[in-house]
Structures are given as C-alpha cells and as structure tokens.
Amino acid sequence: MAELLFERTKVLTDAITNYCPGCTHGIVQRLVAETIDELGIEGTTIGVTPVGCAVAAFNFYTCDMAQAAHGRAPAVATGIKRARPENIVFTYQGDGDLASIGIAETIHAATRGENITVIFINNAIYGMTGGQMAPTSLPGQVTQTSPYGRDVATAGYPIRVCELLSSLDGVALAERVTVDKPANVRKAKKAIKKAFEYQIEGLGYTIVEIVSTCPTNWGMTPAASFDWLRESMLPYYPLGIYKDAKAGE
C-alpha cells in the first residue's frame, strides 16, 4: 500500500496559481497556509489580498478572503479586524503595494498597533505590470522604468521596510526572512507562525518581510535569480529580527 509522503496543504484550494517558475510566492503562500492549518484557525481567519501578482490569492486560500484596492490592504484589514476582533486577519502584499502606494496605510496600521499580520513579499520590482522600478529596487537595478539602472540622484533610495517600521511602538514583530534554501524556508515558517501567534495573543501589528525572487522580470533563470537574491538583495536587506515584543522573555 502506498504511503502518503506529501500533499497539498488543507488550507490551499486546488486552484491553479498564476505564479511563474522560480517565483517564491508559491512557497510563502504555502507557509502561510500551513501556519493557519497548524494553529487551527482556518475557520476564523480572514485574509486580504493586494493588487499585484498575489491579487488572485483569494482563490487559493480556503479561509474567507477579501480583495483590496492597491496599497489599501492594511486599511481593509483594519476595518475587518475592528468589526470582528475575535477573527484572525492577515494581509498578503507586494513591495509596490505595501511600500509605495500603500506606505501611509502601512505606517499608520503599524503605529496604531493594529492587531493584524502582514506578509510582505519584497522582490525589488513590480511583477504583475511587467517589471517596473519598485520602491525596493536596488541602486543601479535595471528595470523597465529604470532602463539605465536606478539612479539614486533622481529616483531616490530603496525603502527598508522592517527597519522603518521597527521604530514604531505599535509594532509587535518585524522580521525579515527569505526562502532561498530549505533552512531559510524553515526559518521563514517559524517567523510567519510567530507573527500569527502574536496576533492571537493580541500583541499588535506583526510583519514578516520575505526577500523574494522575480525571475521573469529580472530576466534570469530561476537558479540565477536565487544567486542574485543572495549576492545583491541580502546585503541591502539583511535578514533578521528588527522588532520583537517578546525579545528577552
């Protein structure tokens, strides 16, 4: 008799995702689903999807889901959480959504200590619209709208979201992880689970930033994109815990 070694996480539907080969959305999405499953909160969780590659994630999760306007997921999540404080509410957002058009909503949800969990995909580019410069694009990075490389003299510098938010009193957890290898995937899972647990405990705003790949718009093979992530992104976006309400406990 065959032994079942691996199966689709219960909290994910059987819908086919729109993600490209080598993109890390699929891994992160699964980690969030596993977390919801393991914490036994599928029946009380409400997710909010962004505008960007993860827009259709409302079809991928089996929990209740809302779709938000570009950048407004923290505000939508705030409305849901204030109406149903007993439910678990998370947003899943990309860098254009969270750090550009939605930076005001992000900072204010964070400083209010809004008791929500934010899953933040930082892949240094706008994926859905075809590879434009993001607020997180690196200095010198070539994109469709920085064809000569991001010139910080005119386009300014990338935003380090975890560092920025860590100064706010309302933030219970701000941690940056990546999913480039199994050990890091396990660390990412731990961070995501911690974020949801802090929300369950009512500690305030939690954010897990995942340094991610976009092979399609970076113009690289999946393998090369992971190399670029390690060589170029991680030095600018160091992994680690930037704020932890329970640090030292």
Binding site: T44, I46, D64, A66, A68, G79, A83, R84, A104
Partner: protein, 374 residues
C-alpha cells in the same frame, strides 16, 4: 412617544445612524462635517462601538470597505475635497457589492474651494462617484429631521440592494439647528442577516470571497449586468420626492436640499402675489424622481431649477422634460446662497413666459436666453 430635541444637522444624522445600528465610524477631519465625527468620537466608545480617525480619507473609505465586508453597518463622513479622495474606495465597494453610508456635507469647490454651503458635487454623486459602471443611491435631506431620517433609509436600502448609499447634504444643513424627533433605536436582532459577509467559515461552509476583480471579460460583464438589474429595480421602486402646491401650478420650481428651503419660501411668496407656483423637491437624486416630475408635465407651463452650482441637477430635469416644456435656471454658487426674493424674481420671469439661464453677475440678474435647451 419620542421626544423632540434641538440638534445640529450633523449631530442628528450621527445619532440617527447609531440608532439604525451603526457601530463603526471611520473618518478624517474636514470642515463642515466636523460635528458629525466629533459626535461619533464622543458616543461610540460609550456604546461599545468603534470610532477610528484614519490617516486619510483614502484609508477611511477602505476601512469602511473592510468593516462592511465583515458584515456590520458602517459609515464615513466628509466634505467635498475629501469625497474626491474616497472615490477609489467607493468604486471598489460598488464592485464588491458592499453597502455602507458615505455622508458628503458639501462645501464649495473645485480644489480647496471654500467652506460655505454648496451643491456643486451633484455630478460627482450621481454621475461619477468612482470609476467604472456603477451608482450609489443618493439622498438629499432638506431639514435636520430629514438628516436623521435619511440615515435610517440609507442603511436600509444599502443592505437591501447591497449598494453604497450617499447622503448629499451641505454646510447649511450640517451646521444649522432645528427641532428633531430621533428614531427609536433598532434592536440588534432587527438587523438584516448577511450570509455573504466575511465572518470566518468556522468549518461550516465554503469560503466566502469579497472581490471586484474579474479577469474574464464575460464574467465581469455578467457581474455588472446583475448589478444593473438591481439598479433598474432601485430606479423603479425607490424614487422619492416631495411635491408642494404642484397640482394647479403654472410654474414649478425644482430644487433639492438647502436650496429647496429657499425655493419653498419663494413659492409661498409667489402664491401671495397670485402666481400659481409649486415646488418639486427631489429627496433621492439617484434614482432621480422622474415620476414626480412627469406627473406635472401635462399641467405645468414652465419649470425653474435653482441650485447652489452653475447648473448640474438642471440637466436631469431637462432629460425628463425632454423639450416638452421650457426649463429655466437660476443659481448662485461658490458658497453664495440665493435669497428668496431672487428666486421669486426668477419665478416671476418664468411665469411670464421668459426662458433663461441666469447666473447673477456682480449682484445683477444677467439673462442668457440663447443657451436654453441647447
């Protein structure tokens, strides 16, 4: 028996909303809706409700989107420039079939404009409340009592048809005090059930999704057409208007909100002078109360529209009348309010068979006959 109290329009609306079961308010400061938000800030914490001052109008309307998606009665209030910022969220609410109350206590525009009463957002409310193919129901109260009554109607219709509802007031109605009888508070179990709401499925049902994205054109079309059917039903069943002395009227003034109070005074004065004048006062601006207007077309000889804008609602009147009778126009705008005597003078001219678009320049009535009906 409910008692009569003296209240500002903004406060009466706020208290009536609470009594209609609204326990969630998200807003951002702006004049002249200030008293409404201040009232909510004072009351909500005392009754287990939520008052949240958002970081922007954009955030506030998206909080309304979230709370409405979660199934509660929820509202926001603002004034003209702030409503422009809310338009994105209103469009998403329309697209996701979410009810919710948006109050616009209008001030003069465009741009930062002024803070005096205005009716210059009529087109925005009825024609262009957000991008895409959609509407909100629009109520136009004209008294403090109606400010209160329209709150209950707004939540009722919004939940019934799953559409956002706007109360289009103005600085005059918001800030003035009048006696008002507040509605009895609605019992919690009297609120409608919302099986479509995001509550967490508790393992008892399939997941629910609140969404306005349809990448397959045919699916988007069918969602728009399903909503259009509801709009047709609303247009048929929910038109509201008051007709005052219209049965034998030769000349009928059409005016809404604060402008209708001035028009009513002019009509009463005209009657004293032997002019057979009447008033049609739209209470819903969308759907436009065509039937009330249509009912007078056989007997009325002429129409006069007066509003606090350079001519917005007048287009709806002309659409209904469709050239069958002359429609004249008189207005002030930018926060300047016409006097009853000015409207009376315009009424007298219309009664004498003159057809005109009049906007007063430097205090004088200037006539522009040639612009009538294109």
């Amino acid at each position: 028996m409910a008692e009569k109290v003296l209240m500002k329009g903004n406060e009466a609306l706020a208290e009536a909303a609470i009594r209609a079961g609204c326990r969630h308010f998200f807003g951002y400061p702006i004049t002249p809706q200030t008293e409404l938000a201040a009232y909510m800030a004072k009351r909500m914490p005392k009754i287990g409700g939520v008052y949240l001052q958002a970081e922007s109008e954009v955030a506030a309307i998206n909080m309304v989107y979230g709370a409405s998606a979660a199934g509660v009665r929820v509202m926001t209030s603002s004034s003209s420039p702030g409503i422009s910022l809310k338009q994105e969220g209103i469009s998403y609410m329309i697209g996701a079939d979410l009810p919710g109350l948006i109050v616009n206590v209008q001030r003069g525009g465009p741009g930062l404009g002024g803070i005096q009463p205005s009716q210059a957002d009529y087109w925005q409310a009825t024609r262009a409340v957000g991008h895409g193919d959609g509407h909100v129901v629009v109520f136009a109260p004209s008294t403090v009592q109606e400010m209160a009554d329209s709150a209950a109607s707004a939540f009722e219709l919004g939940d019934k048809y799953r559409v956002p509802v706007m109360i289009l007031a103005d600085g005059l109605l918001g800030q003035m005090m009048e006696p008002v009888i507040l509605p009895e508070p609605l019992a919690d179990d009297a609120l409608p059930k919302k099986p479509w709401a995001l509550t967490g499925h508790k393992g008892e049902r399939e997941h629910t999704v609140v969404n306005s994205l349809f990448l397959v054109a045919a699916e988007l079309e069918s969602s728009i057409l399903e909503r259009a059917e509801r709009y047709q039903q609303i247009s048929r069943d929910e038109q509201r208007a008051e007709s005052f002395l219209t049965e034998d009227a030769d000349v009928i003034v059409v005016a809404y909100g604060a402008a209708s109070r001035i028009a009513r005074s002019a009509v009463v004065k005209a009657r004293e002078q032997g002019i057979k004048a009447g008033l049609i006062r739209p209470i819903t601006l969308w759907p436009y109360p065509k039937d009330a207007l249509e009912a007078t077309l056989a007997s009325a000889k002429a129409y006069l529209v007066t509003e606090f804008s350079t001519g917005q609602m007048v287009e709806d009147v002309r659409l209904v009348v469709n050239g069958r009778k002359p429609v004249s126009f008189f207005a002030h705008t930018g926060g300047v309010v016409p006097t009853p005597d000015e409207v009376l003078e315009a009424l007298r001219l219309a009664n004498e068979g003159e057809v005109f678009d009049i906007i007063p320049f430097q205090g004088k009535l200037t006539r522009k006959k040639e612009v009538q009906n294109g």
